[in-house]
Chain length 239, copies 2
DNA sequence: GTCAAAAATTGACGAAGTGTCAATAATACA
DNA sequence: TGTATTATTGACACTTCGTCAATTTTTGAC
């Protein structure tokens, strides 16, 4: 029993190590930079052993993406529990999204690669389901804040609008802005010197459009978000 | 001279044909489905001939992405010239963005793949520059509409906001929404039955937040966008 | 401590794909 | 018609994926 446990622990640790190594390779050379042989060499194991952990390259990618989603979910949850008005809380989640990309850019890259390459056929259903569930929970967390806002009277949704419409809007603008930021390196020339700031502006205006109080004209959400980032994510590492 | 011209035309036509074939393969199997050998076989040429046109696989991807950007730019330009108020014009551009993904989903896929895989080192500077320029012009077109709105008094930007901030917001929300729509297939379960509608709602709210008149409470932009799509893009093919 | 059964590890191998290049075929033109 | 130029081919060297029989290590009974 004791040896059994030790064995299991070793396997789990090695698996984590594989993902760690894979991540650095992925950051260096994208999908093509990920190479089973090289991972094996760097870990001083042979290829076959790596394949004992992951059926194929794609499973490694999905596993990394799952880690990413898990981390984000934790960060969102924590931010959504911020002690303040509903609009402060939703802004806190925005700050969490910023922090996520800043502290774990590799995870964001992994998510992009996974969503772009059609690797789904090759992967197991369990991992796919796990991803879907994680994503669902992220939406639920943000949706909860929106519902709270409605309940407290901070936000009145127009007829025909659901809380999920608001969530989708925020999700879109954040994902889009982060995608643009990481993939285009000449934004300064176009007239967008600070994408993060522009994102915050857009987000503020959208929520103002919904009439979600306090409006950004009445409260400094920029300062608030900086504070959230510092208090929640700079000093206390999540997950 | 006559033969020379014929030769050149043949080369140009074959190049277009290669891209056409590549596109179908890409749609079927993503980046991994793209295969030089198979392209050659399908065209009844040998691999070497394909390599005479494109230095490598990545060049084909970039060429396709350039086509995509070119098409989008044309659609945006056309939409931005819609005869109506500034807010109707910006909504028309939104409609163009919708049409782009609907009529040319393969192009959107190509853009995603290109921005996710780090294939840039392998490609020529000319193609890269072409892409950057195209993107820049798209931003300029949308920025023009925003500036017109400011000039005509339909829109008053808050202090510290540039027209490009507005453009970036719209760009983000559109790219994000389209990325989510194509990559996640369980949106219905999450509570987002119609991503396109949710996107339009978010966009409307953001522009309302900026106070860009007429507000969406005073004008039916949904009907307007449908009309634009039909009149500009359904009947008359662009490019 | 010994030994056989079970489990883990290895790396040679087949398959598939990329990009190159000498050889060959087609074309242009004097 | 014959030679120079250009286009085309596919064999080749190389890389990587994923498999699997052979080998090594570990386990646990005695």
């Amino acid at each position: 029993m004791v040896t059994e446990t030790r064995k299991q622990r070793e396997i789990r640790e090695r698996e984590a190590r594989i993902l760690e190594v894979a991540q650095t390779h992925l950051l260096g050379g994208g999908y093509l930079g990920l190479n089973m042989e090289r991972i094996a060499a760097e870990m001083e194991y042979s290829k076959g052993t790596i394949y004992q952990h992951f059926r194929n390259k794609e499973e490694i990618l999905i596993a990394l993406a799952n880690e990413a989603l898990q981390l984000r979910q934790n960060m969102f949850k924590r931010a959504s529990q911020w002690d303040g008005t509903s609009r402060e809380r939703i802004a806190a989640v925005g700050a969490a999204a910023e922090s996520f990309v800043e502290t774990a850019p590799h995870y964001f890259l992994v998510e992009q690669i996974v969503s772009a390459s059609s690797i789904w056929e090759k992967t197991s259903t369990e991992r796919r389901d796990l991803m879907a569930r994680c994503q669902q929970q992220c939406v639920a967390i943000v949706g909860g804040v929106v519902r709270d806002a409605v309940t407290h009277g901070d936000l009145t949704l127009p007829a025909g609008y659901s809380p999920e419409d608001v969530v989708f809007g925020l999700w879109s603008i954040n994902l889009g802005a982060q995608t643009i930021s990481t993939s285009s390196d000449s934004l300064g020339e176009i007239g967008i010197p600070s994408p993060v700031e522009s994102l915050r502006k857009g987000q503020n205006q959208m929520l103002d459009g919904y009439g979600w109080r306090q409006l950004s004209t009445e409260f400094d959400y920029f300062a608030h978000m900086d504070r959230v980032k510092q208090e929640l994510f700079d000093h206390a590492p999540v997950c």
